[in-house]
């Protein structure tokens, strides 16, 4: 809402032309995607280090996932008032235990690492989510780019036809002060694919080409008079959008073409199908895919809700890990599952758990991740680490950025000239990576 308000007063020329094209050409012309596709001027840039993983699937557990009932069962804690009825189960990695809510994911633990001492300074949903996504605290004066936008900006596309930053099941954050083409392209419903990417039924190829030719004719004299980079960029914008409309890469968004068995493997939930779409996009070399899953705000009736959520989560996540591995894509793809904060180790009066910013968990898997690792251990009451140090969101993002070979110390300047970095001042946690 915030960013929507901001954009109300300043419709950029680029957006204006895009809207104009939409009206003139009678096609949707990817009202969203058009502005997300890179222009030829922005090509793939190799990072300072060879990338251990080139794609990131960021599974975001919105509203505060209870870490004790998922990735960090605490066997030391008192069962009645802390751990509750959820018991730990062994995993494919020696000595690593997950909660019984994640039996399928447990089979992939040898490919994954868990950080159990995450800590955030924000105990409210919006602020915590913002911090986790941007590495910076929410401020009234500036909108920070999300981590996916940073990746898009710093390393560019591998596939030059599809946008590089895609958010499934709802968009969180924006490209902030970076160019809007780096921001997340939202896919509201994974089964519906990319909205407005098809020409209208009545518009056949000849008529479409005719309209395009007319548009070009009308533009020609202007282009001739003002042959400038910015003006040419508008032409590129049309061309890119049309390229995607006609490209076979558009099929990447078509989850419906997957066999039923595959859809069932991921689970027919929005999250499961989102993971399936994420896998398809990784096959098509999209850099950053975020799959959002809400419903974790379990202030009351925690154990039932978490078990329900975990059914979806476990199915989707384990299918994703399995599918990527079978296709040989897992070693190129990093999967991160995290939430804005954890939930109180102590069970509250309503059999629920409240917000808890100390010692929650982040799950990392895939390329470059040191499989079967657990970093950090919290004390009985889940307040302080007894092993390892607290890891803040910026450091988690730095860890991901390091693994993906991104430039951590490159500075980008906001319009007002203030310096910002990919992962703020975060330091990569090399304990969970194969270095």
């Amino acid at each position: 809402m915030k960013s929507d308000l901001k954009t109300l007063d300043e419709l950029s020329r680029r957006e204006f032309v895009a809207s104009a094209a939409k009206a003139c050409l009678g096609v949707g012309l990817l009202p969203m995607a058009g502005s997300y596709i890179h222009t030829p001027a922005h090509a793939f840039q190799p990072g300072p280090r060879p990338a251990k993983a080139r794609h990131l699937i960021y599974l975001y557990m919105s509203a505060g996932m209870s870490h004790m009932d998922t990735f960090a069962p605490n066997t030391d804690a008192d069962k009645d008032s802390y751990q509750g009825p959820v018991s730990p189960i062994a995993t494919s990695a020696d000595g690593v235990f997950l909660s019984e809510n994640l039996p399928e994911t447990a089979k992939h633990m040898h490919n994954a690492a868990i950080i159990r001492t995450m800590m955030t300074s924000q105990g409210a949903h919006a602020q915590g989510t913002y911090l986790m996504h941007t590495s910076y605290q929410m401020r009234g004066t500036i909108s920070h780019p999300t981590f996916g936008s940073w990746i898009a900006k710093m390393s560019g596309p591998i596939n030059s036809t599809i946008p590089m930053n895609i958010a499934i099941n709802g968009r969180i954050g924006s490209s902030g002060f970076l160019e809007s083409k780096y921001g997340p392209l939202p896919i509201g419903n994974p089964n519906a694919g990319l909205a407005n990417s098809k020409a209208a039924d009545y518009l056949d190829q000849t008529r479409f080409d005719g309209r395009l030719a007319m548009a070009q004719k009308m533009n020609a004299s202007f282009l001739g008079t003002y042959d400038q980079k910015q003006v040419r960029a508008y032409t590129d914008l049309y061309n890119d959008a049309i390229k995607l409309m006609r490209s076979e890469d558009l099929k990447a968004f078509d989850v419906a073409s997957e066999p039923d068995a595959m859809k069932d493997l991921y689970g027919r939930s929005a999250f499961g199908q989102g993971c399936l779409l994420a896998r398809r996009l990784v096959e098509n070399k999209v850099r950053y895919i975020e799959v959002n899953r809400g419903g974790w705000d379990t202030h009351s009736n925690n154990f039932e809700s978490v078990a329900n959520n975990c059914a979806d989560l476990d199915k989707g996540l384990s299918a994703l890990l399995l599918d990527l591995e079978m296709r040989g894509l897992l070693e190129d793809t990093m999967i991160v599952l995290v939430s804005e904060f954890g939930r109180t180790p102590r069970i509250n009066g309503g059999n629920g758990r409240d917000h808890w910013p100390y010692g929650f968990s982040a799950f990392l898997a895939g390329g470059g991740v040191k499989g079967g690792t657990v970093y950090g251990k919290m004390d009985k009451v889940g307040r302080n680490p007894v092993d390892g140090k607290f890891i803040d969101p910026a450091s988690l993002n730095a860890t991901i950025g390091y693994n993906m070979g991104l430039p951590l110390s490159d500075v980008q300047y906001s319009p007002s000239g203030r310096p910002f970095k990919l992962a703020h001042d975060g330091e990569p946690l090399l304990d969970v990576l194969n270095t």
Binding site: F44, P46, G47, P48, R49, P50, A51, I158, N159, S160, T161, I162, S247, E248, D249, E283, N284, K285, E325, M326, R327, G328, E331, Y402, G405, P407, L408, S409, D410, V411, Y413, G417, P428
Partner: protein
């Protein structure tokens, strides 16, 4: 009879020796008192040189009575072993036993005066013994500034033993040992009771310069080479050995010897910013030319971490420039110096940006002067040496194939090892290779190995597109042909990529025939054949890849049985099916 034989042997020995040691030419020597005379040098012993005048007379002359020019000349001839050691009269006496000729005139006084030297050694008092303080004495405490971590500050102050992994500092770690155990004999010349006391063996160890200079026989420290460093050797000799040092007071402790050893191994550096040789003839060096600039302009932000108001202040961008190692190391984003190539060096790039550029370094104050920038440029191009004497050779260019034996170090990733042996492909080469729709990019900014992939619209890609990669074929380590329309005949081109480590043929029409052609690709570590038409017949061929790490056969026609026998042949490989 035996005696005669020995004389003859001696004769030959001496004859041979004099033949090897060609006589030095006559030249004019000048004493510090101003007198000069023509002579040639015959030999030396300790600090005394034996000069032979035109009148065939022998003059023993103390080294420090001569001008610096003469000293340099004598140092050179003696260090190069051009003149023998010892009194020529004694050397000659061996001679006399054979030919019985009369010895040369008996010890004439040299004409040069033995008076007080004008340009002589720095005179200083003999080292004072440290006062022995009662344990716990007030005076044994050291003062520490407020706001500092007392332990840290104390360590820095007292120059205590180096922590494991801490680089050895000459002044803090080495000098105290020398001071304690060596100075009593190897101190710079000093006055005592009207006599000048010279350091024993002409070797003074009281400053960094003197240690590095060595004595007339040779240098005693070879940076980086413990074996070749006499200073270390004499400390580790057998205690009964004549040359064992120190001769009195027992040997150094193993820790002390270790400190000296490490100091030499780390390049025998002086304390940062002090001491050292400032001769520019050996080229630009970090120590002499670059560090002073860094210290003045960069270390405010890029120094070592320090504590301020209870907070640790880290160097900006995680980049420290306070030591040579730190500069070479760069930060998490990689090296900032490409030895031998200033254009590839980030350090050079940021100091030469437009002054209005927000990235220019240093961000405050004037930009570096053109002279300073030129120093950086030359320094990098000369190989970014730490000392003038360091030798840097650029790696040899372009070797097409690497033998398996030369890739032995398993700690360094294979692609990095391969990359080091190849030069970076030019932009033109990459542009040519990219023409057919491939994304061709180095693995990282400065890597010479390349990943080639067909990500956008793979169905338009056929065999010919792979042929276009030939301009960079030796540099390709990763090739992704997934979902393209390539057929078996593409393998002819793939096979030419000798350094290929990673090959994805997922969802292509490739069959056994194609995969068979990969035979002999010794660096292949990852092979993705999922969704291809390969069958059990390929197992035999795949079994030949003894070093392969991952094979993907999911969705292919290979059966469980085939995979089983493949796994048996390649027990260490990860086979996914």
């Amino acid at each position: 009879m035996m005696g005669v034989g020995r004389y003859i042997f001696l004769f030959f020995y001496f004859f041979n020796a004099s033949a090897l040691l060609a006589e030095e030419p006559f030249r004019t020597f000048t004493a510090v008192s101003g007198q000069s005379f023509t002579a040639r040098v015959l030999s030396y012993e300790g600090q005394t040189f034996y000069l032979e005048g035109k009148d065939k007379k022998l003059y023993p002359v103390p080294y420090n009575q001569l001008t610096t020019n003469d000293q340099a000349y004598l140092r050179e001839v003696s260090q190069q072993g051009k003149i023998p050691i010892g009194d020529p009269r004694k050397l000659a006496s061996q001679d006399t036993m054979v030919d019985n000729s009369t010895p040369t005139a008996s010890s004439p006084e040299p004409e040069v005066s033995m008076e007080e030297p004008v340009d002589g050694p720095r005179l200083m008092a003999p080292p004072k013994k440290k006062p022995a303080l009662r344990p716990g004495s007030f005076f044994a405490y050291k003062s520490v500034n407020l706001g500092q971590d007392p332990n840290l500050a104390l360590e820095m102050k007292s120059g205590g033993p180096p922590k494991p992994g801490e680089p050895i500092d000459f002044s803090n770690h080495v000098l105290p040992i020398l001071e304690d155990r060596c100075f009593s004999c190897h101190q710079e010349a000093y006055e005592k009771n009207g006599k000048t006391i010279q350091p024993k063996a002409g070797l003074a160890l009281s400053t960094y310069d003197l240690v590095m200079k060595g004595n007339l026989d040779n240098t005693v420290v070879t940076p980086g080479d413990v074996e070749d460093s006499y200073l270390h050797e004499v400390l580790t000799l057998d205690e009964d050995d004549d040359m064992f040092m120190p001769p009195k007071g027992g040997p150094l402790t193993t820790e002390q010897i270790d400190i000296i050893k490490r100091w030499i191994e780390e390049g025998a550096k002086p304390k940062a910013g002090g001491g050292g040789v400032t001769d520019a003839s050996g080229g630009i060096s970090f120590h002499d030319h670059i560090f002073p600039i860094l210290e003045e302009r960069c270390l405010d932000c890029h120094g070592e971490p320090y504590v301020k108001n209870g907070r640790t202040i880290h160097p900006k961008a995680g980049l420290a420039l306070d030591t040579y190692e730190a500069v070479l190391k760069g930060n998490l984003d990689g090296a900032i110096i490409d030895r031998g190539d200033h254009e590839e060096s980030t350090l050079y790039a940021v100091i030469t940006l437009d002054p209005d550029d927000s990235e220019i370094m240093p961000p405050k104050g004037d930009p570096l002067s053109p002279e300073e920038i030129e120093l950086f440029k030359k320094w990098i191009d000369e190989g970014a040496k730490e000392y003038p004497s360091d030798v840097f050779e650029r790696p040899k260019e372009e070797k097409v194939a690497v033998s398996l034996t030369s890739v032995a170090d398993s700690k360094i990733p294979l692609v990095d090892q391969l990359g080091k042996r190849l030069s970076k492909p030019s932009k033109t080469q990459i542009d040519v290779a990219s023409k057919t729709g491939a994304l061709v990019a180095p693995l990282s900014e400065k890597h010479s190995m390349i990943r080639a992939e067909f990500s956008s619209g793979p169905s338009l890609i056929d065999n010919s597109a792979v042929g276009a990669l030939s301009s960079v074929q030796n540099n390709i380590s990763h090739l992704d042909l997934s979902r393209t329309k390539v057929t078996d005949s593409v393998m002819g081109n793939v096979k030419k990529m000798k350094n290929l480590t990673w090959l994805a043929l997922r969802n292509t029409e490739i069959t056994n025939q194609g995969v068979k052609q990969l035979k002999g690709m010794q660096f292949l570590r990852y092979l993705n054949l999922s969704g291809t038409k390969v069958t059990d017949d390929i197992v035999k061929d795949l079994s030949q890849f003894k070093d392969i790490e991952e094979i993907y056969l999911w969705n292919s026609a290979v059966t469980d049985k085939g995979v089983e026998s493949l796994q048996k042949a390649l027990p260490n490989a990860k086979i996914v099916f």
